[in-house]
Amino acid sequence: MTRFIALVKKETLQLMRDPSALIITFVLPPILLFLFAFAVSLDVRNVPIGVVLEGDGPQAQSLAGAYAGTPFLKVTPARHRKEVEQHVVSGTLKGFVVIPADFDERLLNPDSGAAIQIITDGSSPNTANFVAGYAQGVFNNWLAGRNGSGRARGPVIDLQQRFWFNPELESRRVLVPGAIAIVMTLIGTLLTALVVAREWERGTMEALMSTPASMLEIILSKLLPYFLLGITAVIGCVFLAHKVFGLPLRGSPLTLLLVSCVFLVPALGQGLLISTLSKNQFIASQIALMSAYLPALLLSGFIFEIDSMPPIIQTITRVIPARYYVSSLQTVFLAGDIWPVLIPNMLAMLAVGALFFAITFANSRKRLD
């Protein structure tokens, strides 16, 4: 026990003198959370489009007014297509709606072809879809609102949408939990991989191994301080997310902490595994970034939905601990302590972690050859 305490003390002192660890724990989280809360946004508001009003019929005028009135579109009015085409090419407008000169007649005679034309900028498909859908929506609403005059072109069934968990459909509510997962991955995997590799690089591992300290003691003493550091970072992140960025916290903070502790098992395990494979800090950091950080960013479902990935990629995400962590965090933040979701997630994280630790211990011997 004396040995273990001595090792933990040493590790803690080193940690406190290592600016990179402190930056990742205390400076990176606010920056990341801020970025994901404000700068990165998957929401669309005030999309600039043009509305080309070719004729002056009352119906046409009324529809043009409806477009101008919506908060999601910023309308540049025009009388001729040529005026707005240029802007779509240059990218200042994301598309335009053409209300033809004979709009009023077309409206009265549904068989005369499409009433309006919607052109969008296909070079950014998400926005293009949004513009098309929204322009269509405005038109349908406008039609439905024309109390009965002319035959209704609107849908027979009226759809009333309600979004659960994130009624305002604010993307930050989904992104911020993802940012927490990124921070935890960096602390758990990258920092751990680096500290062990550093011992090898500086020749201190050789000196440690020549003492009676066992490999288990050496490894556990490295994990403990980083585990605590990770937990500290989570508490900081949750505080920021909830109090500063106004994210709801529908589950209990303790559940959140529990889920985070469980995530640290595979995260630290992966860091250790990397450091046993590479005894060089540079290579260790590369492996950590490729095998932990990038998957946490791309495959955890925090930016790109897993359900819309090709099946093979979906299978790969199953071994990525961050996937379960992101899903658990989103659940606790937005839905509450939903144990039927959380427990399978935690079991999956523990299983991946156990695998990493098993491989690590099988490969660590107190020998240099």
Partner: protein, 578 residues
């Protein structure tokens, strides 16, 4: 005497390579045993096995009565091991390092304060407990490393090359500490490629290419050379060209320059006539001297290299009408409040070898770096061929070749690519570049290694390559920064053969070194301590300046230690007065 270590027919293979080839030996308690050999002899491998960090492929080793394969945990308890870089945490303070190892060694709370106190007294690190280990000088790091290894209160203490990169004053301290330990009954095993260290061990195990060449007291090995070591003095003309000629004689096994004299080792029972003729031709004197351990070592390993440098022979003589090639006036460098170099003045003449010596942290490297344009002086002037390094650094740098410590070769480039790269950065191009590269390959016999990484080269070849790279542009001045630190004596001789040859062609050489033996090759030696130039003279006169009744014939190392200590004392007196 009890046996501390028993090594039985040990073979160690790494993949296909045999690092140790059937070694058997015994090491006794209460004695200092040197593990000696050139680079790549297998010293570190054997050390790691003694520390139970590697297992032998065949054979067995018992340390303090425990088998290292089956009872590794017990071996770890009973041995203290200081690896090559001392195993210290540079971001922890002296005290924190000691506390860590005290904890790892299970020194209990009640006796811990006392143990730490004892260690601090023993190592003299008491005033520095709060300093980070990374900020300690090489000598202090080594003492701290030793203290950490001693926390085990070991029966067997293993020190892997503790003397590398450490100045003579610190080495002397360490030596005294280790002797105190052996007198308490500890077995101390000290691996080294420095033969002066080996000579002072009570027993030595001499390894070469994985084989045990000799085991016993160094004096026994030295005695075999009785009557074969000679000193040639009063040489009429250049002592360097005399050495070259002497080494060409078949009967000369080894030769080095020692101040104004040349020291030679002759083959066993050889006819001395050719040497006597040569000596007469130079109107020199030939005196038999007591053999040294180094003589015996080189003889055992098959003799030193020849005296001719194919490199120097290919070089054109350096023509310059200048007589002063390198010069500094009141050269100073400050880092914050700390004065690393304090108003240093000297001049190096054409065809001279000037050695820069000094303890770790004395300002030797700082001075050296200012002279070759790697650091900007805070005040004063440094000139190479009259070009001020501050105002025309590029023009000055083209006039000098620089070979850095550890050789600074690119491990990710092949040998050929390194040569091409260095010729490029020195401004060679086209046909001239191709020819120079070709020439270097031929002169240094690098052909078989062209497509491999320099990292995999044997040390001697690495050194040749580094020298080739720094000479690609035929500079009139060559700067060597601790060129043979950690290099074995044979490789070092080969290196100096080239340097001697180049100087013969009129090259001017500045060398910084920790090796007293290297200092002997210099025409003049500048001794730097506490940032100041405290002595500048020929090696012989420096030695003579400290001679006294109880030290009639001081060695270079003794002279070095004496001069440094005198200045330190004086500085302390002045400090007290102020």
């Amino acid at each position: 005497m009890t046996v501390a270590v028993e090594i039985e027919r040990v073979i160690k293979r790494f993949d296909e390579v045999e690092a140790l080839v059937g070694i058997s030996a015994r090491i006794e308690s209460g004695r200092l045993t040197g593990l000696v050999g050139p680079d790549g002899a297998g010293k570190t491998t054997l050390m790691r096995m003694l520390a139970a960090l590697m297992h032998p492929s065949e054979g067995s080793i018992r340390v303090a009565g425990c088998d290292i394969t089956r009872e590794a945990a017990a071996v770890h308890k009973l041995t203290g091991y200081m690896p090559q870089r001392f195993g210290l945490y540079e971001d922890l303070s002296v005290m924190e390092n000691l506390q860590l190892y005290a904890g790892l060694r299970g020194v209990d709370k009640s006796s811990r304060a006392e143990t730490l106190e004892k260690m601090l007294r023993f190592t003299g690190l008491g005033p520095f407990t709060k300093r980070l280990a990374g900020a300690l000088s090489g000598g202090m790091k080594q003492k701290l490393g030793l203290a950490c290894a001693l926390m085990a209160r070991p029966q067997v203490l293993l020190l892997d090359e503790p003397g590398v990169g450490v100045d003579p004053v610190s080495r002397q301290d360490l030596w005294a500490m280790v002797q105190e330990l052996t007198s308490e009954g500890m077995a101390v095993i000290w691996s080294t490629s420095y033969l002066d260290e080996a000579e002072r061990c009570e027993d030595v195990l001499l390894l070469d290419a994985g084989q045990l060449k000799f085991a016993g007291q160094p004096a026994d090995l030295t005695r075999r050379l009785q009557g074969r070591s000679f000193l040639v003095g009063n040489i009429d003309g250049d002592r360097r060209s005399f050495l070259t000629e002497a080494l060409d004689l078949d009967l000369v096994r080894d030769g080095v320059i020692q101040g104004a004299c040349v020291r030679l080792v002759l083959a066993k029972g050889a006819d001395r006539t050719p040497l006597e003729t040569l000596v007469r031709r130079h109107h020199a004197s030939l005196d038999s001297v007591a053999p040294r351990f180094e003589d015996a070592f080189i003889d055992l390993l098959g003799g030193g290299p020849g005296g001719r440098s194919p490199l120097a022979e290919r070089m054109d003589a350096i023509v310059s009408d200048r007589s002063t090639m390198v010069e500094c006036h009141d050269l100073s460098k400050k880092f914050g409040d700390f004065t690393a170099t304090d108003k240093v003045n000297f001049a190096v003449q054409k065809g001279e070898i000037l050695g820069l010596l000094g303890p770790n942290g004395a300002g030797k490297s700082t001075t050296f770096k200012m002279l070759c344009g790697l650091l900007k002086p805070s005040a004063g002037r440094a000139e190479v061929l009259g070009l001020d390094l501050r105002h025309s650094p590029s023009a000055a740098k083209l006039q000098l070749g620089y070979m850095a410590q550890k050789f600074s070769l690119y491990g990710l480039l092949s040998v050929r690519q390194n040569l091409v790269f260095f010729s490029g950065i020195y401004g060679l191009s086209g046909k001239q570049r191709r020819e120079r590269v070709k020439e270097m390959i031929k002169v240094f016999e690098l052909k078989p290694y062209l497509d491999v990484s320099p990292d995999t080269l044997p040390l001697g070849f690495k050194q040749r390559l580094a020298l080739a790279c720094s000479l690609m542009h035929r500079p009139p001045v060559l700067f060597l920064d601790e060129p043979t630190s950690g290099v074995d004596p044979i490789t070092r001789r080969e290196f100096w053969t080239h340097i001697t040859g180049l100087v013969g062609k009129g090259m001017t050489v500045m060398v910084s070194t920790h090796f007293m033996e290297e200092a002997e090759y210099c025409d003049r030696v500048a001794l730097i301590n506490r940032g100041q130039l405290i002595a500048l003279d020929t090696p012989d006169r420096l030695k003579a300046s400290v001679a006294s009744a109880d030290l009639p014939e001081p060695t270079m190392e003794q002279a070095f230690i004496r001069l440094i200590e005198d200045q330190n004392q004086q500085a302390e007196l002045e400090g007290q007065a102020a």
